[in-house]
């Protein structure tokens, strides 16, 4: 029965122990009192009457002898005769004593002794009855004197006998009383000791029982509560009977902890999450100091935890971005809610810069006061690289590295806007390599590609910064020449280009010479829209080809009107 049962039954068990102890003590005291009662009864019913009888006998005998003496001394024979009557009483008393002694379980005086006294007394009484009646002539009768003397001796013997009897009976009574007193004292001491022992035992047992049945389970429960508050772990309770309240409490507590485990998240758990999350987490106080960092942050910035805690959060940022942690951040976050994926530049311990996405949100106490800002930094260096590559792929020609059609049109539009704003002119050159198809077919694509790369690099060498070279596809290139002083500048540059391209170059052991036909359109002279400018430069290029290749041609409006429709179909075939 390890702690089982209801509290009521446990208390009853304690009470039962106490009752058993009380019962034992009561039984012992009852037994002792009964035996004392028996002894006292014996004293009253047996010993005391005997002692009284002994006393009476002695007293009566003394009285009788005194009266005989008086009768003898005074010669009152009448008194002597009266005194004879006492003999009957005394004989009766002796008889009663004898009976009492015979009945007594532990006689102090043997019946034989009393019987002897009885016999002596009868002899004495008989003699006295005869002698003391005739004492008037004692002086004259020696025989009478002898009889009186003999009676006197007999009387002395009897007196001694009766005195002894009385003494023995009284001594016995006294000794019995003393014995009873001693026994009573012993009983009292024994009972006192027994009560104390029973009390101690019962107290001890109740203490043990209470300890085992009540205190230990409660202490265990308390221990469990402590353990739970420390480690969130609880030893499941053992088998619990349905009547054990403490056990049920322990079970309920266990169930509660299990529920808590499911429904709440421990600090350890959260710490674990924070530690292992991929982003760098930094909690910044409202004053801008770093309060918490996770492992990723430390790795990301190259610090250890001591170096960062308590430092200003701006330590992590480049000077350009330090304003992020200004006072306005808090109000912004409070007003607009969390900030998400803002791109910033971070600064590591050893001075390296890297791009990062910053997300921030205000953290509040349960009471509503601002506790800090939760910041998450995600290193986007790789993302930036990919982005750059993608951007490059979208805007530049993979073979030659110059701008592709898309970028070209963007740039063209930019040029149009800028030129319009600055009220200046610019030129668009449309370039097509002469007989590139033949080279490609005869010498292979590799050489063809090499030719295109060479052309592109030569073009870039010729143009100024701010001008744009783009590959439109195949062997067609476009060049935007910004900031021209006059239309003639475009022609000078076009000539320079044809010259540059026609310079011989070698590839894979072959040396060849190229040519290029260039068409020129001008903004705003030939148009203000990209399509128009492109088509017009394209048309001019066609004219240059028609003019004998490796030359350039400016778009002429008049010329265009005459020839455009007639030649467009032919040009298409040639290409």
């Amino acid at each position: 029965m390890r702690g089982g049962g209801s509290i009521r039954s446990k208390i009853w068990r304690c009470v039962l122990v106490a009752l058993v102890g009380y019962f034992v003590a009561t039984l012992a005291s009852f037994y002792l009192n009964m035996s004392q009662y028996d002894r006292l009864s014996m004293l009253v019913q047996v010993h005391f009457p005997q002692a009284t009888l002994g006393n009476d006998i002695l007293y009566t005998f003394k009285k009788q002898t005194e009266r005989y003496e008086e009768a003898f001394l005074t010669g009152e024979s009448e008194l002597a005769a009266q005194t004879n009557a006492i003999s009957g009483d005394l004989s009766t008393m002796l008889e009663q004593l004898l009976e009492a002694i015979k009945r007594s379980p532990h006689p102090q005086v043997s019946p034989a002794y009393v019987q002897k006294l009885q016999g002596d007394y009868q002899a004495y009484a008989h003699l006295a009855g005869n002698v003391y009646a005739h004492v008037s002539d004692v002086e004259s009768s020696l025989d009478l004197q002898k009889e009186v003397g003999q009676l006197g001796r007999l009387q002395r013997q009897l007196l001694a006998g009766f005195t002894d009897l009385d003494k023995r009976l009284n001594t016995f009574l006294l000794s019995e009383i003393e014995e009873n007193k001693a026994k009573s004292l012993k009983s009292t001491i024994f009972l006192g000791t027994l009560f104390v022992l029973v009390l101690l035992t019962v107290t001890l047992i109740i203490d043990r029982v209470a300890h085992r049945l009540l205190i230990t389970p409660l202490a265990q429960l308390q221990e469990n509560v402590h353990t739970f508050s420390r480690t969130q772990d609880v030893i499941p309770p053992e088998y619990i009977s349905t009547t054990d309240e403490i056990g049920r409490l322990a079970k309920a507590f266990w169930e509660m902890t299990q529920n808590l485990k499911v429904t709440t998240v421990s600090k350890k758990y959260v710490d674990n999450i924070i530690k292992n999350m991929t982003g760098g987490l930094v909690v910044v106080s409202p004053a801008g100091e770093i309060q918490t960092v996770n492992q990723v942050t430390l790795t990301m910035f190259g610090y250890n935890e001591k170096e960062l805690l308590g430092k200003m959060a701006t330590t992590l940022l480049t000077p350009e971005d330090e304003s992020l942690f200004s006072a306005s951040l808090i109000s912004t976050l409070e007003k607009n809610g969390p900030m998400k994926d803002r791109e910033i530049t971070c600064l590591t311990k050893n001075g390296r810069r890297f791009p990062a996405h910053f997300s921030g949100s205000a953290m509040h106490h349960e009471q509503g006061a601002l506790e800090g800002i939760i910041c998450v930094f995600n290193d986007i260096t790789e993302l930036k690289k990919v982005e750059h590559t993608l951007k490059k792929m979208a805007h530049y020609d993979a073979l030659t590295g110059v701008a592709n059609r898309n970028l070209f049109f963007e740039k063209l539009e930019n040029s149009i806007r800028e030129a319009q704003r600055e009220e200046r002119i610019f030129a668009l050159l449309y370039l097509d390599l002469d007989k590139f198809k033949a080279i490609n077919d005869s010498m292979g694509h590799e050489v063809g590609d090499l030719v295109l790369k060479t052309v592109a690099s030569r073009l870039q060498e010729v143009v100024r910064t701010g001008d744009t070279v783009a590959r439109m596809g195949g062997d067609e290139f476009t060049i935007i020449l910004n900031a021209l002083h006059s239309p003639a500048d475009a022609e000078i540059l076009a000539q320079k280009i044809t010259r540059t391209i026609s310079a011989p170059f070698s590839a894979n052991g072959f040396t060849c010479t190229l040519g290029a036909s260039i068409g020129i359109s001008l903004f705003p002279e030939n148009g203000s829209h990209t399509e128009i400018l492109v088509s017009k430069s394209d048309y001019a290029m066609y004219l240059a080809k028609a003019a004998g290749r490796n030359t350039f041609c400016r778009f002429q409006e008049k010329q265009h009107l005459e020839n455009y429709l007639a030649n467009s179909q032919q040009r298409t075939h040639e290409l």
Partner: protein, 135 residues
């Protein structure tokens, strides 16, 4: 030889000038007794002579001398002495002492009994008995 004490008890006492003396048998070696020894002997408390022989008391009931002797030596009246001895007899301790009626009887008894002691008038002392000094 024995005279009843009832004579003594009933008789009228008259004081006379005659004094008493203590007498014993001539063969008795005792010459002198002190008053306490006399008293002890006549009250039955000393019952043997120095040579371990029993003392035989002889009460001389000659009125005059008896009265003087009992009153002076034993500090008792003759009646009181009589009761005293009866009590001794009653309690069985001893017998009544021998009583004689005059000096002659006393002298005669003492003279013929070796262990006897008695008292007589000083004047009647003769050779039958020996006087014992009381000192």
């Amino acid at each position: 030889m024995l005279i009843t004490l009832s004579l003594l008890l009933g008789s009228t006492f008259f004081a006379k000038a005659a004094d008493y003396i203590l007498v014993v048998n001539k063969d008795n070696p005792v010459d002198r007794l002190n008053p306490q020894e006399v008293k002890d002997i006549f009250l039955g408390k000393k019952i043997k002579w120095g040579n371990d022989l029993p003392i035989t008391l002889v009460m001389n009931t000659n009125d005059e001398i008896h009265e003087r002797f009992t009153r002076i030596m034993l500090q008792k009246s003759p009646v009181q002495l009589s009761v005293y001895w009866k009590k001794i007899l009653y309690s069985g301790v001893g017998m009544l002492p021998l009583a004689v009626k005059d000096d002659e009887a006393a002298k005669s008894y003492v003279g013929t009994h070796k262990n006897a002691i008695s008292y007589i008038t000083e004047d009647s002392l003769d050779r039958q008995v020996k006087k014992v000094e009381i000192r």
